[in-house]
Symmetry: C2
Subunit: 210 residues, 2 copies
């Protein structure tokens, strides 16, 4: 299928990538469609079985356009990770507020992201890929470090802020795995507020105490 | 390859399974070899690509013997999980001791299990399988609940002991994933004692406080 054959709305503006005739034809909607397709493909097929060709087909564009916007498969994965983590990138807003309630705000925010199936699915997919493929782990490692944890750490007034941010993240990650993947009871079906009530003081101690 | 063709020591006693001519020939060493082979196969190939035939071949026994001792593939997986978690099953011994230092004993114990490559590898393999296959997750869920967490919870004098034991387990699990799988720095290379020092008070609060 060629870019011109897609049935999305007609492109009006150029995409954010390098300008080219192909991008002109496909438009910015194609970029969004490719990212959505990549997220779905990585989620459903896993890292190994996802190909640029498959992503292109699911997005209804030419594989060359995927290469044009994102480059290699690893770079497509990185872009899909970034889109999936977008809700987590508002973390700095959550850090604004009374510092003695930061643990609760963070716990509530992360539980909210995991509680929502729309945001949970891509996070789980990324986690699965990272646990089974070193290339995916490397992408996640670079992204989590450079975009997420260091951004949180920059706001903290504690020694070793990145280490402490990682400890907080590790707890939320573990809760997510036991609750949503392993589905260990009673954790899997307990009211989210009860998790927040128990976990918030832990995050507060890691992120707020000197 | 038939059981008689293996080059292990000659069997002298009967295995713990139902007595049968096959088991007589193979002996209890075959059972151990099958479990070790299953652990390696699930670790290296993942849940999907591991077969009873493959486990039998790696153990140097007839597939019928694997069926005889363990039953279905799920049951082989469950037995491999149980062997891998054996170090964790001494948890009740760790619970014996001053109750105000239980958090530190548990943190030290779990970090020790994950720090040792011999015990870490099968745990990671099981985790990977559980994250990618519902059948493996179900086995882990049943096992973790019935053998590990409820055993810890029975020793605790707190409300909702299983929930609290799960919260403690979730934290250790998340630390293990970020440190050993995602390898996020500085968590990945920090001295284990620094992790224990930070995590112990958290576990103490979950498991020791009312």
């Amino acid at each position: 299928m060629t870019p011109g054959a897609t049935d999305g709305p007609a492109p009006r503006r150029r995409g954010r990538g390098r300008p080219s005739r192909t991008a002109d034809i496909a438009g910015p909607d194609a970029r969004t469609r490719i990212l959505q397709a990549a997220r779905t493909e990585f989620a459903e097929r896993g890292y190994d079985r996802t190909s640029i060709r498959g992503v292109a087909k699911a997005a209804g564009v030419d594989p060359a356009l995927v290469h044009h916007y994102f480059g290699t498969k690893d770079e497509v994965f990185a872009a899909a990770v970034e889109v999936s983590f977008e809700p987590a990138l508002v973390v700095s807003e959550i850090l604004d507020g009374p510092s003695d309630a930061m643990g609760e705000r963070l716990a509530r925010f992360f539980i909210g992201v995991w509680e929502n199936p729309v945001t949970r699915a891509p996070l789980l997919a990324i986690l699965r890929s990272a646990l089974t493929h070193e290339a995916a782990a490397a992408v996640l490692r670079g992204f989590v470090l450079s975009r997420l944890l260091e951004r949180v750490a920059a706001e903290l007034e504690v020694p070793d802020p990145t280490f402490r941010a990682e400890l907080a993240a590790s707890h939320m990650l573990g809760v997510a795995i036991l609750r949503y993947v392993v589905q260990a009871e009673p954790l899997a079906s307990v009211d989210p507020e009860r998790i927040i009530a128990m976990v918030a003081p832990t995050l507060q101690r890691y992120l707020g105490d000197a």
